[in-house]
């Protein structure tokens, strides 16, 4: 018996939406979109079991459900809490949530080095966005920040643990994409760190995806490190025939040069399709790829500066626009400026100072 997909009504920040049973609050909010979507640093819809750790997506449930209208006593992690019929959730509209989220952001930034000026992730860093949205200008932390040594996880990936916020995304990625995960969390508490057991390299054909899932600059592409700032590069969608992955990627170009290859990401910054190491690290020539066109970049992102996705060309010809006239120059500055008048000595015009001007004035004095 085919059963129709059951839907439930959930209200988030006074916007009601019908969602299928089993949807989480965060997914329901993403269906609405816009400002009601709580930020998520550790949740990744493509990774099973992720979420619940960073606590940035905390929301207030002011009405449990139609059947049990009691509010939930604590703020809940929206990424791991399923919706109930008639549930009412407050995200933007709850001062309690705002306060808790500010606290969480402060905790996340507490030991973060804030080395954005030299960090490769800057410009596409989720923690940076979160910090702008909820952070304070100064820190109340006056002690030495926690630091770790940098580690090379094989030839392509560098781990800079000092920047890590322990979202566990890379651990889940390695667990779910590769056969044998060889990195995980060592130690506990504020000294917990992502590590391989004694500096082993990560060499699986899909391990490069950990770079894409990292919300901060803890895992970086060694082929791209310090090559360029992301906002100077132009993302274009491209594809190639690949034996082991979809081959659908985003190329980050500067001029003709391909500086970096990443998987394509959706509007929540999540990878659409995983790509293999060969596509990511070894195909760094434009000729390796079939270019589809510019990648869509949100206009709120710094990467969108100078990034033109849909250039509109005038349909009429130039002459038609000018009413039949066919001017040779767009603007005839020659007739306005005396700079180009051959009868005037350039030195007579109040132009920029030259050494002659200087010599002349000192001689007089």
């Amino acid at each position: 018996m085919a059963e129709a997909v059951k839907t439930v009504k959930v209200t988030i920040d006074n916007i009601t939406v019908d969602v299928p049973v089993g949807t989480t609050i965060l997914q329901a909010a993403r269906m609405i979109g816009g400002d009601v979507v709580p930020p998520a640093m550790c949740y990744y819809s493509k990774l099973q079991g992720s979420g619940g750790k960073c606590r940035t997506c905390l929301v207030e449930v002011s009405k449990g459900s139609e059947a049990d209208p009691r509010p939930m006593p604590k703020l809940v992690a929206s990424c791991r809490t399923g919706v109930m019929d008639g549930m009412e959730v407050k995200n933007m509209t709850s001062p309690k949530v705002e306060d808790a989220r500010n606290g969480v952001v402060e905790f996340l930034l507490l030991n973060h080095p804030l080395d954005c000026p030299v960090c490769d992730q800057a410009g596409e860093c989720h923690l940076q966005d979160l910090g702008y949205q909820h952070g304070k200008q100064g820190t109340r932390y006056e002690f030495k920040r926690r630091t770790f040594e940098k580690h090379d996880l094989g030839p392509y990936i560098q781990l800079h643990m000092t920047r890590c916020i322990l979202c566990y995304r890379c651990v889940f990625t390695a667990d779910q994409l590769t056969d044998k995960r060889s990195h995980g969390i060592l130690s506990r508490g504020d000294h917990a760190e992502i590590a391989t057991y004694i500096e082993k390299s990560l060499d699986n054909n899909f391990i490069g995806n950990v770079i894409d899932v990292c919300p901060v600059g803890a895992l970086t592409d060694k082929t791209f490190r310090f090559k360029n700032r992301v906002w100077f590069t132009k993302p274009v969608n491209a594809h190639r025939e690949c034996k082991c992955c979809s081959g659908k990627v985003t190329l980050w170009q500067r001029g003709e040069e391909v500086l970096r290859v990443t998987a394509r990401k959706d509007q929540w910054g999540e990878v659409e399709e995983w790509i293999c190491n060969e596509c990511r690290f070894e195909k760094k020539k434009t000729t390796d790829w079939t270019i589809e066109g510019p990648t869509h970049v949100s206009r709120h992102s710094v990467i969108s500066q100078g990034h033109y996705e849909n250039t509109i060309k005038p349909k009429e010809t130039f002459t038609a626009v000018h009413g039949g006239r066919n001017p040779q120059l767009l603007m005839d500055i020659h007739s306005v400026s005396e700079v180009n008048d051959p009868s005037i000595d350039l030195s007579q015009i109040n132009g920029p100072a030259t050494s002659d001007v200087y010599n002349h004035s000192t001689k007089q004095a």
Binding site: G51, G52, G103, F107, L108, L166, D190
Partner: protein, 449 residues
């Protein structure tokens, strides 16, 4: 003389061994239970009003009735013997001296819940108790009270002892389950609760050692009789492990009707404050519950004498009350420094935070550093407010209760002893050589009419 249900036979010579335990009337509960319906046993525990002895005080019968019972899926009972809360050592005593009482309770509970494989997850530091328990299990097996077809009832039950590796967080039930499965002991995100999806994704009940041991007297005397002991919703007896500046530290069994004052000062229990000093403060239920100054400890804010039970200790909420918690009763005399005491606790929670969720991972370390600063006389008044703000942002925002457990002691210390913190800030040199002393904490508090 107080009623003793658990520790009545604790001092019988050789009670650790099966023959003596059996001679003293042991395993009668198993014999009785196996003739009953499992649901009837759960009903009996419900009637007894037994509340979880691990700290949260959730009714045990209710927890058992939440256990999902899908067809063809095994169910598990896990005994939480990862007793790591500073100040709590009641389970150690119980397991060390009366291992068969726990085994008996486990067999009865396993039968009631339908668990054929039951685990005791014991704290790694209790290394010597593992041997005692394993010997007790072997003896019970030899005598047919454990293993295949117990007493011819057709019920099979095996008990395994698993040692932890020394993590406080593994006392949290979902972290315990993770650790038992052989993974890193990180608490799981709830829901789903263990009663639906616990050990190896099967329905699981996790109970404290004392809770499971208390099932034995409940079976022997009946739930209704058991509920008559104690007062209100605090039924039965509770083991209290008293320590600190008292004359007679140790594990005491109380019936929850006695007052805190009697417990501290009577010779039957703690025997008063050591060296003739005065009582300054007390942490009544293990390190994570709020500390109370003497005046609020002995009487509630309403002026009634405070009793040693769940409701009375929690009277007044966290503003003027505390919790019975796990029963780790830590007494501080007039010579103790609250700032130093709070720092010690903060250091413990920082060390034991699993590092999974950000408020606890970063907040516990931050609190410890600020407390260290204040304690060493380098603090500022603004640090006290900052500390308050940090604990407020940790509490309730974490995955598991460890965040709350780390925040509450700091919150309570500032709430009740703020002038001592301020004294530390204002007298940076004096605080290194002297203690703040009693101040007004020992005075009876003024109750507005």
């Amino acid at each position: 003389m107080a009623t003793k249900l658990l520790l009545a036979k604790a001092h019988v010579e050789g009670i650790r061994h099966f023959e003596v335990y059996r001679r003293e009337g042991g395993y009668a509960a198993v014999e009785k239970a196996l003739k009953m319906e499992p649901a009837a046993i759960v009903e009996e525990v419900k009637k007894s009003g037994l509340r979880g002895r691990g700290g949260a005080g959730f009714p045990a019968g209710m927890k058992w009735s939440f256990l999902a019972k899908p067809e063809g899926v095994p169910r598990y009972l896990v005994c939480n013997a990862d007793e790591s809360e500073p100040g709590t050592f009641k389970d150690r005593y119980l397991m060390e001296f009366l291992p068969h009482l726990l085994i008996e309770g486990l067999v009865v509970s396993s039968f009631a819940l339908g668990s054929n494989r039951t685990y005791i997850y014991i704290r790694g530091e209790y290394a010597w108790i593992v041997g005692i328990l394993e010997q007790a299990i072997a003896e019970a097996k030899q005598n047919g009270f454990l293993g295949k077809n117990i007493l011819g009832s057709g019920f099979d039950c095996e008990i395994y002892v698993q040692r932890g590796a020394g993590a406080y967080i593994c006392g949290e039930e979902t972290a315990l389950i993770e650790s038992l499965e052989g993974k890193r002991g990180n608490p799981r995100i709830k829901p789903p609760f263990p009663a639906i999806k616990g050990l190896w994704d099967c329905p699981t009940v996790v109970n404290n050692v004392e809770t499971l041991a208390a099932v034995v007297p409940i079976m022997n005397m009946g739930g209704e009789e058991y509920a008559k002991i104690g007062v209100g919703r605090s039924t039965g007896t509770k083991l209290i492990s008293a320590c600190g500046n008292i004359n007679k530290p140790g594990v005491y069994e109380i019936d929850m009707t006695i007052s805190v004052e009697e417990f501290i000062y009577s010779d039957e229990y703690c025997g008063g404050i050591a060296n003739g000093k005065k009582l300054k403060a007390c942490i009544p239920g293990g390190s994570s519950v709020p500390i109370l100054p003497a005046n609020l400890l002995l009487t509630t804010a309403k002026g009634e004498p405070r009793l040693m039970n769940y409701e009375s200790l929690a009277d007044g909420g966290f503003a003027t009350g505390s919790m019975l918690g796990s029963g780790g009763f830590i007494v501080l005399d007039e010579d103790q420094c609250i700032v130093k005491n709070t720092l010690t606790l903060a250091r413990f929670y920082r060390h034991e935070s699993c590092g999974q969720c950000s408020p606890c991972r970063e907040g516990t370390g931050w609190m410890e550093k600020i407390l260290g600063k204040i304690e060493s006389g380098k603090g500022a008044i603004s640090d006290i407010d900052l500390l308050w703000d940090i604990q407020r942002k940790i509490e309730g925002n974490t995955i598991c209760p460890l965040g709350d457990a780390a925040a509450w002691p700091v919150a309570a210390a500032i709430r009740h002893f703020r002038d001592e913190f301020e004294w530390h800030v204002n007298n940076p040199e004096l605080c290194q050589t002297q203690n703040f002393g009693l101040a007004h904490y020992a005075d009876p508090i003024h109750v507005p009419a």
